[in-house]
Symmetry: C2
Amino acid sequence: MGDISATPPLTRTSVQEAHERIKQYIHLTPVLTSTTLSGFASEPQSQDVLKGTEWEGQQPARPKIRFFFKCENYQKIGAFKARGAFHALSRLTEEELSKGVVTHSSGNHAQALALAARTRGVKAYIVMPTISTPSKISGTKGYGAEVIFSGSTSQEREAVTNDVIARTGAIMVPPYDHPNIMLGQGTMALELESQVDDLIHKEPQLSVTGRSKDKNLDAVITPCGGGGMLSGVATALSGTGTLVFGAEPRFEGGNDAERGLAQGERITSVKTLTIADGLRTPVGKIPWTIISDNNKVRGVYSVTEEQIKAAMKLVMERMKVFIEPSAAVAIAVCLYNEDFRKLVEEEAGPEGWNIGVVFSGGNTTLEAISKLFAVPDKVAERAVGVLGRDGKRIAENVPG
Amino acid sequence: MGDISATPPLTRTSVQEAHERIKQYIHLTPVLTSTTLSGFASEPQSQDVLKGTEWEGQQPARPKIRFFFKCENYQKIGAFKARGAFHALSRLTEEELSKGVVTHSSGNHAQALALAARTRGVKAYIVMPTISTPSKISGTKGYGAEVIFSGSTSQEREAVTNDVIARTGAIMVPPYDHPNIMLGQGTMALELESQVDDLIHKEPQLSVTGRSKDKNLDAVITPCGGGGMLSGVATALSGTGTLVFGAEPRFEGGNDAERGLAQGERITSVKTLTIADGLRTPVGKIPWTIISDNNKVRGVYSVTEEQIKAAMKLVMERMKVFIEPSAAVAIAVCLYNEDFRKLVEEEAGPEGWNIGVVFSGGNTTLEAISKLFAVPDKVAERAVGVLGRDGKRIAENVPG
């Protein structure tokens, strides 16, 4: 994808330029609030729920949290990936584009690149494992892309991709490990900033009563898989005073960024079957340069599968917003991770924080949800219970 | 609930008055559009899908439909029922309210009345069958209502309700068969009218290119159970030129309004276990006076369980909007009922219609959805297939 050294620097200004380039092609996705979920997040978890965790016996945190949800599930192709793909193509010359673009992906990036290519009138080759679900294959073909099948190991996918490049001269557009993808994905942070300002201007009670702040958005937390979104958002907000956090699934070591930060070195290989299937990849090399910079990303926190399911259930049933499991990971950290919650309590104090939470996508099916929720999961039930199965809290079962 | 003869007349003006009385208490719910779903509705069904139906062998209809979805799933308590409850209470005197209010319901009306009563500082007694799901019981208690249990037959419920009235002097607030409930529920139509005007003013391409219409909303279709919403909406739109239609589940005779219209007489008893559980009741006596008036309700159409599921799947997966099965019935008629589709084709002609479709509520759980979608349903799969499992149509898998 061109020469990486020729890409714009990883700065807020570059994200602003990226936004100018793509805003005509993408949706300005809505920012939603929820009194109910902000209320849940602002109540301490019960001691019972913390039993058996590393926080057993500790005093539960009492953070004060007001949520502002950036709904990238309403983005084109149903996920934030459209931002990176449109930006990457906007940075290629007509000559580079003339041979087409190629990537290997079975997920949202495949459809994002296919859509961006079709919009630019460019050929897209998508390498997908033969075992991909038929709906994803037909979805990608539906955007006019040529789907080329490969085996499912990364070696097999890369071999087929290299074949395509050799045969067609197409330019590789990777899903996250590239500055132009990161800068494109970071554009959501600029929208979130000004949307939160607008919302609080219209409804001052959404923020802290009686205090005018020069910065309405205290923090943003995004899911972290390959790290393109997290590093892009951190780049966009660098120097603004808004803190940036990442959120990961803990299952089978899916929290590679969190573990990498702890050991001071990027973890390059992960093998997890977490339900947050968009977050199974390890953080890429270039995103890591941002994520490992403590001035840009303040920390990465992880949650269990049960906590992801409990958060997904709350968002769907209470907010009536349809999200995929990966999109529930950031709110799950705010609701259930005591380390994060203690940090908010200590740093925000009684005034609390306005936290921007990214709902990264909504591409799942009712059949997939059925598999997740068919057998009532005791831990998920318990986690939800903590957050309001008793009369008092259910009382706030009011959308919006 | 007071003297029915003293309630306002069933006119558009009364609905406007009702709106003034309740608008401070309810949400102005959003109206959403979807290029994808309007596109699906504007393509003919395949001959294959019509096999085995009463339309087998007929030429599939080719209506042109632009959807405007009134999202009452984002209403307080998650359903339109809040409108009727708030309006009913606004029409009672302080003296009448002093003894409290009572109803029997295990569904959305229970929570709506409980919320409205709490807001007015009034005691609410809710009679629920002992077999009600624990979450509904705790939800209703959560709004501060006193829950009183009864057997599950209508005789048992009414006996217990009469006991409560005798004991406390509470006023009965029925779920649909009362003018004040109908007028309150009809208020959504006034909002829908002006929201569609605003949307088309901002984005003229949402309507018919090159033609300015004095009436942007050609038709509205709402689900029909007890008929409070359908009759209220028809009352609100009476004389405006906007046509009003009803939608019902066909399963086990759940289409009592459609059948009643055919036989020229209201059907007073229905026993169906349709998945559209909000629509299992027969149309009430007072709603029937409106619904059976051909100048007010143009027709009622029904759909199968599989079609309800297919519509629900499209709304959730494509629009990312979380709805309960009852809320999918009106869009299902637009997508799958050939009689309705032929009517639109014939009356609207090539310009098509802007159709307001009510998403009536979003109160379901992921566990309930799991039961519905756990075993892939061949008919639902086929119905969805018609509407876009081939590459070309999946291509439009773009929210918004």
